[in-house]
């Protein structure tokens, strides 16, 4: 079994021919990641500077994406926005998936009342619509980057938990788990060395999907004015502040929307085009 798994993972990661859509999607994701990391060094104008006499200026040389509602350079603002959208979402999805997956594996391994209580509680959490949860938390404690990251993470822990638990329950019935238990291994060893390696690939695919959900929710909250607060602006906030340009189809309102779409669609397409072996839960 180990041999078969090693062989298949080598083939799927190195030798496997990804199709064109998958390659393009990964390139878009890579590009946004690089932008998010190096944004402060590549922006042509400081994001707060007013560089255009006109507001909602069109695309032209020097101001490649036009200007926003105050005449600031839109290209710089979108590049910096990538930092917040990608950064906050990545932090949130990491916390959500890590906690969800660890809790899910522990619940599957230990079972009993711990499993029942945790599952019930997280199912209840799952019954709160995500936008509503965000609204209520922001109303209660105000909006800041740490609050946003934690709120987004908490909203998506139940989903990650459910997914990982379902996978881990299947693995838990395998003979090698019984053997490990008989050997007297600790729970930490069981989840880290026996379960995790067997569910890691579908969990990573799930990580990608959850990242998309979080980007969408963060953008939605920012669009409602409940996400990042000025002067910081992620892509959702950029759409919000420039919504006045909509009647003239200003690039300032269209470009940040396209940025969000390019990122989320790319992640979705990448996951859809992953080799079957990685994507499927019983891989």
């Amino acid at each position: 079994m180990t041999v078969a798994r090693a062989a298949s993972s080598r083939r799927s990661f190195l030798g496997h021919s990804y199709n064109l859509v998958g390659v393009v999607a990964s390139l878009v994701i890579l590009a946004w990641t690089l932008v998010a990391i190096f944004a402060p060094y590549i922006i042509p104008h400081p994001i707060g500077d007013i560089v255009d006499d006109d507001y909602f200026g069109p695309m032209r040389q020097g101001l490649w994406l036009g200007s926003d509602y105050l005449g600031r350079d839109m290209l710089s603002r979108v590049l910096m926005g990538a930092r917040y959208t990608v950064g906050i979402s990545l932090a949130a999805v990491s916390i959500a998936c890590f906690s969800g997956v660890v809790l899910g594996m522990i619940a599957a391994v230990t079972g009993g009342w711990f499993d029942t209580c945790l599952s019930r509680f997280l199912d209840a959490m799952n019954s709160i619509p995500s936008k509503l949860f965000g609204l209520v938390v922001v109303a209660a404690v105000g909006s800041s980057i740490p609050v946003l990251i934690l709120t987004l993470a908490v909203i998506y822990i139940p989903g990650a938990y459910r997914f990982a638990r379902a996978l881990a329950v299947n693995i838990n019935t395998m003979d090698f788990m019984t053997v490990a238990r008989v050997r007297g291994e600790s729970t930490i060893y069981l989840i880290g060395s026996e379960i995790l390696p067997n569910i890691i690939r579908p969990v990573l695919a799930d990580f990608g999907l959850r990242f998309v959900f979080i980007v969408l929710l963060l953008s939605g909250l920012s669009f409602l004015g409940l996400g990042l607060q000025p002067p910081l602006a992620d892509w959702g906030a950029l759409v919000r502040e420039n919504i006045g340009g909509l009647p003239f189809a200003a690039p300032a309102v269209i470009v940040p929307s396209l940025a969000i779409a390019s990122l989320t669609i790319s992640v979705n397409l990448l996951i859809d085009n992953l080799p079957q072996k990685i994507r499927d839960r019983d891989a």
Binding site: S127, L132, V136, A139, G220
Partner: protein, 316 residues
């Protein structure tokens, strides 16, 4: 065997009620975590400490949280939603008309999107792999992958800016004729329909395709049944449960959708009311709106689960 289904359904309902209690509890506590003392906010800067203490006493703010929660719950059961902090009107009065507006929006969207999505989903599954199927699939993935406000923005760009068919904003007060009504509801309904239908199409298509891959459908194919007969007579009746499940689940996306759509189109519904209440930190109003949304959401996902239980032939 019949009692097995009944038991499962009752169990699911019990879970829904427990969940509702937990959700109410969460909403209540999230909103009472708000910094600042409610009594001093209400009385303003000039209030004397005695007045604040008096009001705290009168509003039972000194009681333990669990007691306040229970009192709030009992109030809810009597239909008493509390009083808005912002304009001191009863919350129930503020919500009433707005609630009807939101239900109208949701109702019209449902009436349009369910038949539309089912037709597209089922036909796409029948013509699996065709250009038509691929177009529908790509479009629905596209809509799912972008935020709701982007669908709304694109709809405004297309219908209001380029084609100039419709106004960008809606205001229900001005409806005098059928034409007005169409103009008011069209933009929000178009946006919501896109968002809801995309989910529904994907789930319906998946459900029908799964049924089409079962042995008895293959049997129908082998005995020479036509493609449409195979789908309509053999596959669809068995896919009905998963489809209804998909419809209920997709409709639960309305809850998130209306929050964005009402805000962007300035539609006077309950979601707009709530977003405004968040801006003014009007707790009783937020609590009540949040509760209504959670209730609606819970109803839909519980209905989806119950349909799934009832339609499982192994349990009948």
């Amino acid at each position: 065997m019949k009692s097995g289904v009944l038991n499962l359904v009752l169990k699911r309902l019990a879970v829904a009620i427990v969940t509702l209690l937990i959700v109410l509890f969460a909403v209540f506590f999230a909103t009472s975590m708000l910094p600042g003392d409610t009594a001093s906010i209400l009385l303003g800067q000039a209030a004397t400490p005695e007045a604040v203490a008096g009001l705290r006493e009168a509003m039972h703010l000194n009681d333990p949280a669990i007691l306040r929660f229970l009192r709030w719950l009992v109030g809810l059961l009597h239909g008493d939603l509390g009083t808005s902090y912002a304009n001191e009107m009863p919350v129930a009065a503020l919500i009433g008309g707005r609630f009807v507006n939101t239900m109208k929006l949701a109702g019209i969207t449902t009436l349009i999107s369910v038949p539309l999505a089912l037709t597209l989903g089922i036909t796409a599954a029948m013509l699996r792999g065709s250009v038509y199927d691929r177009t529908v699939t790509v479009l629905s993935i596209g809509v799912i992958s972008v935020p709701e406000f982007m669908v709304a923005t694109l709809a405004v760009l297309l219908f209001a800016v380029y084609l100039k068919w419709l106004p960008a904003l809606s205001s229900v007060n001005e409806a005098h004729s059928l034409a007005d009504l169409v103009r008011i509801y069209s933009m929000p309904v178009i946006t919501l329909t896109f968002v809801i239908s995309a989910q529904m199409i994907r789930m319906t298509r998946a459900a029908v395709i799964e049924t089409l891959s079962t042995p008895y459908v293959e049997m129908a194919l082998l005995k020479g049944a036509s493609r449409s007969r195979m789908v309509l007579k053999h596959a669809l009746p068995n896919a009905l449960g998963p489809i209804v499940n998909a419809v209920a689940l997709s409709l639960s996306y309305l809850v998130g959708g209306v929050i964005i759509v009402e805000t962007i189109f300035n539609y006077p519904g309950i979601a707009k009311l709530m977003v405004d209440a968040v801006a003014t930190r009007d707790l009783p109003l937020i609590q009540s709106c949040a509760m209504i949304f959670c209730l609606g959401y819970l109803l839909l996902i519980t209905a989806a689960d119950i349909v799934a239980i009832m339609s499982n032939p192994r349990l009948r």
